[in-house]
Subunit: 270 residues, 2 copies
Amino acid sequence: MIGGSMAIALKEKGFASEIIGVDASEKNLQQALDRGFIDRALPLEEAVALSDLIILAIPMDALMTVLPQVLNDMKGQVVMEVGSTKEKFLQAVKDHPQRGRLVATHPMAGTEYSGPEAAVSGLFEGKCTVLCNIDQSDEDAVSLVKKVYETLGMQIVYMDAASHDLHAAYVSHISHITSFALALTVLEKEKEEKAIFELAGGGFASTVRLAKSSPDMWVPIFKQNRHNVLDVLYEHIHQLKKFKQLLIDEDYETIYKMIQESNAIRRIIK
Amino acid sequence: MIGGSMAIALKEKGFASEIIGVDASEKNLQQALDRGFIDRALPLEEAVALSDLIILAIPMDALMTVLPQVLNDMKGQVVMEVGSTKEKFLQAVKDHPQRGRLVATHPMAGTEYSGPEAAVSGLFEGKCTVLCNIDQSDEDAVSLVKKVYETLGMQIVYMDAASHDLHAAYVSHISHITSFALALTVLEKEKEEKAIFELAGGGFASTVRLAKSSPDMWVPIFKQNRHNVLDVLYEHIHQLKKFKQLLIDEDYETIYKMIQESNAIRRIIK
């Protein structure tokens, strides 16, 4: 989805003249060819040899094996990756002789869908992307990647890997866990109350839509960002328990104050 | 917001020839007059005396005092209310001599915004509304209210008050609590990490948007549906603790299975 959306936009805007697709799934490649956002499909090694810029948009566990391989095969081109966590894999490649050719990025865009069918033009427009630890990347590599994101219409933010992973846990990873948990809560209830979803409206859909997200993508993220995700999960459970205790105590005045405080989120989201 | 949106739609579709607005806030009434979705503003008693159909769209605590008053003042017209919980106040008016003139309903539509500024035409179109305990309402009253909802383009579901309150706790009230708690979790972090929201994207916005909801509306709902809300809150915290424990244990295989199970929500929401 991320790779495909980039392919579409970079082609449309004339940034790329040829796009080669690489994927573990033959079906995905065929769809990408059918939708016309890749020009041809090749095995990884051949594709790397022919490319000026290599974009890795794959689950974090795959990245742990594919990235070192690409760095080994590269002859001075640039590779950018777009993963959701940073610290662990950057640690793993930090002494690689071609580390400077790698730019670690995280475009904050996406939906609950995966695969080439979910790819859309304009996905990145107006959103924000993170460039991580750019002091470890060569200047020309950073320039090229900046050009990519400017072409996609994104605003660039710079962060070190540790800050990125902390931030991402708070404003992205936890949202997915609450959605998964909320979906399971109601699906559990459905076992005894068949029609429980009959009244589900927009508010419910909004809070659980992320629960449609793929475990193939998310389990590796939780794995690699385990420490930060646990921190925020502790804090979130603590807040929920506070609500629960206040409800048990029928302390509606304090509940009122908590809701009022949470309303401060209006400042952040439109 | 609900009352105003109904006023707009019922006027547009020619269902109502004159709409009288009643509100505790002069400012709200003035806005409703300015936007033209009420024809005039009157005190409650006078408005009731002049109306064929009285629609009560007010917070649940206000309903507990206003509804008995309206039932006392009415001379055989019809009153419908649109509140988010049902059991408690229906219990309170169950022996009122004009109980038959009341139809208890819950249109499953709304946003995180309140007040006349948030009122929009088409809010109800295609959505679902609940009629509760209609065996306690007169037939002609139910017919009139059905006509209202058909005019608004809503699909009607019938339920007893207890089922309604249970369902609403699972597919609406809990979503609000998780949003309030999630907003507080990240706002807490912001105290030490000023830029924590820098990366907040669509997923975060989606899971916390309900945290913009008014405490004036929601505290009375949690109060009146306390028992059901506590039940679902226990279950939700249990699911989150399960995630937390699995993450502590690094049992990624079971996390994978839980996410896969939660993906079943795809069946429910588009």
